[in-house]
Symmetry: C2
Subunit: 146 residues, 2 copies
DNA sequence: ACCGGTAACTCTCCAACGGGAAGTACGCAC
DNA sequence: GTGCGTACTTCCCGTTGGAGAGTTACCGGT
């Protein structure tokens, strides 16, 4: 009989979540969401368009597996499935199977996933808007070191 | 009715970065910053304490190499050096060598790096605050699938 | 009855990336 | 000379991710 239940362990750890500690669960969560495919999946399901300033249609969408794999150009099926599974397990999105033929599987952000998406959208927009500056910095750096 | 040629569309698309396209530079930038070590390095140099609500001392810090490697528990020297180099190349932080003995190397966020840190801090805080919820979701998921 | 088509995976192989440990360069103190 | 401390750098090897073929399950056509 275990003396300490999982719930008790959580209650204990709750006092001190610190992502800088390698053993902290929040560190693993940070590693999980700091993933290129995670950020793109969130952006896709969050309804981010390519050009953030223009379309205001950034409400959560429900997307099919095949739709996602087309949207995230370059993702392998393995990684897409794997990443979606872990996000589902963590409660960031829901997976719905509709028994049509062939079977239809749709994914949708939960409220929890949506709250993370609100943050991650900013990061994606940052990358797109500061691209020029970063490219200029790289040129300067490469010129300096050659 | 304005006529838009294919050439004009291409020229237009060239100006706009879209992280969903595999070939877009901003996609590579998003992949670079969606990295566990990048987010932790930014948090460390941005002055994030373990408990975000408590200490207000979240102004940019200058940190030594050894200080960073102690702070980011579990990082290998190789990855720390490599990650710092690319962040320096992209202009997110500066590397300063002081010819003391032994040599002292300090790293500090640039304004550009600081602007990204403002966004990433939210993500780290999100991970720490929603940890309980995610752990509960995992238990439910595992119970459902076993 | 059989074949083909489609969606969503799943499996298998292999190349690339990341971690660990050991080695390097520098200058000074002894 | 030998040793030491900082900040790397190099080598080896285990793990991860990508490419692409294979799988399942169903149905509609012939």
């Amino acid at each position: 009989m275990p003396m300490v239940t999982a719930a008790q362990q959580r209650a204990q750890a709750k006092l001190e979540y610190d992502a800088f500690l390698a053993s902290c669960p929040s560190r693993q969560l940070l590693e999980r969401i700091s993933d290129k495919w995670v950020s793109l999946i969130l952006a896709a399901l969050g309804g981010d368009g390519p050009h953030p300033g223009k379309d205001r249609a950034d409400r959560p969408r429900s997307m099919r597996y095949s739709e996602l794999s087309r949207r995230l150009a370059g993702v392998s099926q393995k990684m897409l499935t794997q990443t979606l599974r872990t996000l589902e397990r963590d409660g960031l999105l829901t997976r719905t199977v509709t028994p049509t033929v062939p079977v239809t599987v749709t994914y949708e952000l939960t409220d929890l996933g949506g709250s993370l998406h609100d943050l991650m959208r900013g990061v994606k927009v940052w990358a797109e808007t500061h691209m020029d500056e970063v490219l200029a910095n790289r040129e300067k750096y490469d010129a300096r070191t050659t």
